[in-house]
């Protein structure tokens, strides 16, 4: 399934809803969208992975890149994910210790500020 990207605003957070497959082919589009948001002045980003069926190391690299970029800009970056196969990927790579991970958008926008 192709990558889908949609943004919405929840309070002071911009929620980027990602769907489909994030891999070596589609990750550049995700990177581009995140850069667009950050360069456009967005400082509190929540990426909702709820409709992602596949996520590989390239996609994870893009997410870490956005996290670092926002940190240096005094912003925040959080992920929403409740799918066990994806959570396992975060655990195996130790990225669960790097990203703020939430089960719901509400939790991410409430706690992530």
């Amino acid at each position: 399934m192709e990558l889908s990207l949609a943004t919405r605003t929840v309070g002071e957070h911009t929620v980027l809803e990602v769907g489909g497959e994030v891999d070596v082919y589609t990750a550049p589009r995700l990177r581009e969208r995140l850069l667009e948001l950050i360069d456009g002045g967005v400082r509190h980003v929540v990426v909702d992975l709820g409709r992602v069926d596949f996520l590989d190391s390239t996609g994870l690299g893009v997410l870490v890149g956005a996290l670092k970029r926002l940190r240096t800009a005094d912003g925040t970056f959080a992920l929403v994910c409740d799918k066990e196969p994806l959570l396992k990927i975060f655990r195996i790579t130790a990225l669960d210790q790097v990203f703020p991970l939430h089960r719901t958008v509400e939790a991410a926008t409430g706690a992530g500020k």
């Binding site: 891999d23 070596v24 590989d56 190391s57 870490v64 790579t93």
Partner: protein, 144 residues
């Protein structure tokens, strides 16, 4: 013993095809249904790594994926990059991952290796027997 071979030009767009074929053959070979997500991810990571190496070295030769089910489900992903580029599984720890100076390519490589090592119990990365390159060999049990 059935063997399926797939070779593709080293472009990111073809990695998805390799994943789909790899999972289809795994299912047919009798790999447990709950392992198929891991098979898909591991084949994708091995192919992504091979494509990245070919692009880094400007190689237009195809990446080879060979799947066989003689006794177990074995997948070989073969690249043609110089050997020093590909051997060694160096997973990064959380501190390294969060390190500001680590660039995205290095991070992706480290994470890719972590995923391969984490998801594939029977994993080997070794020089190919013929010519230049490395092969990532992954084996999963099949239920017969």
């Amino acid at each position: 013993m059935a063997t399926v071979r797939l070779s593709f030009s080293p472009a990111p767009v073809h990695v998805r095809t390799a994943r789909l074929v790899g999972v289809a053959v795994a299912r047919r070979a009798g790999v447990r249904e709950d392992l198929l997500d891991e098979v898909r991810l591991a084949i994708g990571e091995a192919c992504t790594r091979a494509v990245a190496l070919h692009r880094q070295y400007g190689l237009s030769e195809p990446v080879l994926v060979e799947m066989s089910d003689s006794g177990a489900y074995a997948v070989r992903v073969v690249d043609r990059a110089p050997i020093e580029a590909g051997i060694g599984l160096a997973a990064l720890d959380a501190d390294q991952l969060a390190n500001e100076s680590l660039d995205e390519d290095d991070l992706t490589t480290g994470v890719g290796f972590a995923l391969l090592a984490g998801f594939v119990e029977d994993l080997q990365v070794r020089p190919v027997d013929d010519g230049i390159g490395t092969e990532v060999r992954m084996v999963w049990p099949v239920a017969r």
